[in-house]
Symmetry: C2
Subunit: 478 residues, 2 copies
């Protein structure tokens, strides 16, 4: 405890020196060894301090040279506003916009800032291929048979083992596999709701979740959400008497990228248990933490089996594999029954291959590189936005995940920007997609899973120019 306190004190001390300008941009920091010697802490603790500072984008490491004050430490772009959705259910779907944006999926002639998936060249493709081929060869009957209803045993065991890192203490029998995370969320919502029920969500919210709720005939309550700490618990509390189910993405939420602090996770779990409202937790991004440690989940604090914890490898390994899962707590029987009805089985070969891949330990090795790349990408994006985007632009400070949320000055309509940008072979996700209300018209989500290149930088520059142009036209015509 004391050690933990010391570690935090040193980290905060360095952070404050950077923020107040005592340490200047580009300046070299003491080495790990020096820091360890100076404070009488272990080399590992010293390393962890730098990783934490790096996660906050205050320092950056340069290979063979040590740590330096990051240019992002002095980023002038403010945070986006706290969202203020109406406290009543709404259902204004941005219909054509959704179809429009998602139809760009897979187009190779576009720069796809719009789609929230990692680019293939930061994935362990050859190792995955190997596992698929091995599974095809080794599985009984070549993997043509149905899996057991609950799913591949190795995969479930590895999900359980990995849950120790976030104090989930899952056992393999607690986990049901699914065809990706959206399939898990769909099974949960079908199990827990009937049309006319009300669901509470973070705002802004991933469009697929909004569409799912609407398609099931649910009333959608969007709840005010802070860009750094997540859903506003007081706002949620006021709405709870009208709520039947709550769905949250507390870790590296798309589009905002925040990580809800542990204390608030615990608070939410207790609050919802009191009201006997089930919590569906989408933790698809949980493994993509920029900080040193895998964050806990709401499920970590779930003593009643009231949290249905969902995840997948779609954002870390392979979107096209359709490998997801849910630990449904006390709702397991209902989920299994629905899985039988809607899917019968997952794809035997692929789930076996991912199970094996997780067992080799290659996943953690991959994740280390993957997270570092994404964090670096975020830094590149932030600097480019700072240089090229209209004055008054605000951006989120993702602590993990694949998304960056951009808030333009009010006069820039991102649905218009989307249409303009498409003509320049650029696809973005306009803010209006992330709500069923009239908000976020001047916001957009950018995917940071694309490899950083000169071309990508020039595309961001181009996007910035288009946004500036739009803003000028609006200001002139007013």
């Amino acid at each position: 405890m004391k050690k933990d306190f010391l570690y935090r004190e040193i980290a905060e001390n360095i952070a404050s020196k950077i923020k107040t300008g005592v340490l200047k941009q580009g300046e070299r920091l003491p080495s790990v060894r020096m820091l360890s010697k100076e404070h009488g802490i272990s080399v590992n603790t010293a390393k962890r301090i730098f990783l934490e500072l790096e996660a906050q984008s205050l320092v950056q490491s340069k290979p063979q040279s040590g740590y330096f004050v990051s240019p992002l430490a002095y980023l002038k772009l403010p945070l986006p506003e706290v969202s203020k959705p109406l406290p009543v259910a709404n259902n204004k779907e941005p219909k054509d916009l959704m179809t429009d944006v998602y139809s760009t999926m897979g187009r190779t002639d576009l720069t796809l800032f719009s789609i929230g998936v990692p680019s293939g060249n930061i994935l362990p493709l050859s190792k995955l291929k190997k596992e698929i081929i091995l599974a095809t060869r080794s599985l009984k009957e070549g993997g043509t048979e149905y899996e057991p209803l609950q799913g591949n045993v190795k995969l479930r065991r590895m999900i359980a083992v990995r849950s120790l890192a976030w104090e989930g203490w899952l056992k393999e029998e607690d986990v049901v596999t699914t065809n990706g995370c959206m399939n898990a969320l769909a099974l949960c919502l079908i199990a827990l709701t009937k049309p006319g029920d009300t669901i509470a969500l973070e705002s802004p919210c991933y469009p697929g979740i909004l569409q799912l709720a609407v398609s099931l005939g649910l009333h959608v309550l969007e709840v005010a959400t802070h860009p750094v700490t997540g859903i506003d618990i007081d706002a949620l509390k006021n709405l709870l008497p009208h709520v039947n189910v709550c769905l949250l993405v507390p870790n590296f939420n798309t589009p905002l990228g925040y990580c809800m602090p542990d204390q608030r996770k615990k608070e939410i779990v207790t609050l919802l248990a009191t009201y006997n409202i089930p919590l569906i937790e989408d933790d698809t991004y949980g493994d993509i933490h920029f900080g040193a440690e895998r964050p806990k989940c709401c499920k970590s604090f779930d003593t009643e089996g009231n949290v249905l914890w969902c995840g997948s490898v779609s954002k870390t390994l392979a979107p096209g594999y359709r490998v997801g899962w849910v630990a449904p707590g006390k709702y397991k029987d209902q989920i299994l029954k629905l899985k039988f009805i809607h899917a019968l089985s997952s794809t035997s070969i692929i789930h076996e291959a991912v199970g094996n891949f997780l067992m080799t330990g290659r996943y953690d090795h991959h994740l280390r590189h993957f997270r570092k790349t994404l964090q670096e990408n975020y830094q590149h994006y932030a600097l480019a936005i700072s240089a090229y985007f209209p004055e008054g632009t605000k951006i989120s400070r993702p602590q993990g995940g694949l998304a960056l949320w951009v808030e333009f000055p009010k006069e820039i309509d991102t649905t218009e920007l989307h249409h303009f940008a498409l003509k320049s072979q650029i696809s973005i996700a306009p803010g209006r997609m992330f709500t069923l209300q009239n908000q976020f018209q001047h916001c957009m989500r950018l995917c940071i899973g694309l490899p950083w290149t000169d071309e990508l930088q020039s595309k961001l520059k181009q996007l910035g120019s288009l946004a500036k142009m739009l803003g000028q036209v609006k200001n002139t015509s007013e």
Copy 2:
């Protein structure tokens, strides 16, 4: 037309000679060449005549020896009764029974007469493996990417090409791929219904479909069904004013195995279009015809886009691959939207592999052997049942597919038989699973997709003895 008439006349003439005992069991029939010469027809027409007679189990071929009168031609077992469900919606789910029976899935210590899937040793496993490995190696980014929303193009193109055989005239843009056929049916029902709506189904009906309907809050109308010609159109017509959607399995329906005659398919399509009731057609078994020709579908007669035609390779290639599809007619937009919400994408590698497999022409080659094996299995089963099962047992005459429906004398309860049989390592599907009403308690479905061996024969014998014992106990205690 005249030629077709001649062909039928010759076939019927031989059939009648067999049925009236002019040709006796085991007797050799004229050779293809002789038949061709005698009637002045082509060798191909003569072959087709024998194939038709073989499909009706009147003759059987012996390699290098020609055609002989089949022992099945004199099968004394009568047909099952026409079902008589109540003309009102009912929802008596046989809950524990379902879980009980499906939990035997994958158990290698049991003889699984209960599960309607083909055994691995009648599937083209090595060719499929090869295709998976090729797809893994050749796909962009190793198949880790999402597919286009509508699904793999090659697969859709091949489904369209194959639809020519049954006069479906589909184009690749008419087809949406899914994770197996149950997933296709689920998307269709979610798109077309809301809770409280009424669905009309054949009776008996595949349990997964009944469960799906119940889970979506639908009222289920089971309609009287004939074991050879399918749903009773007059009975259906009387119910239509209360029906919102109709789901049929007209080709080699599980459990009854009939093929609804073309004229009746056409009649149903016209009738439902008049009432503006969409028809979901499950054609998963359509390719498993014992007769010479691939039967038409209801979709073949659909001029309004009112038929949502669903299929898969789960019963012909690989249950564990989860490759299915739907040609949703005028409901395509709704299906695409739901696919996006519930699944996002199918498994890229596997769908590519199956698309490639279909393109090679290996599928038809496989199907020829596969159908022949299943038909031979049916004949073996029928003879064994005739020899070993209680007097008064009736069986269906499957014209294709994987299922045989057995109707015992009333006093034999198949749910009891299921519990007894399990103790002898035999799993069956009791009739009660195939209805939400109190019927079929003395029926069961047997899967004919298991390879015929002496051991399987002795298991059928054992099952027959158990059924006889149950019947005797009941008769004694009465």
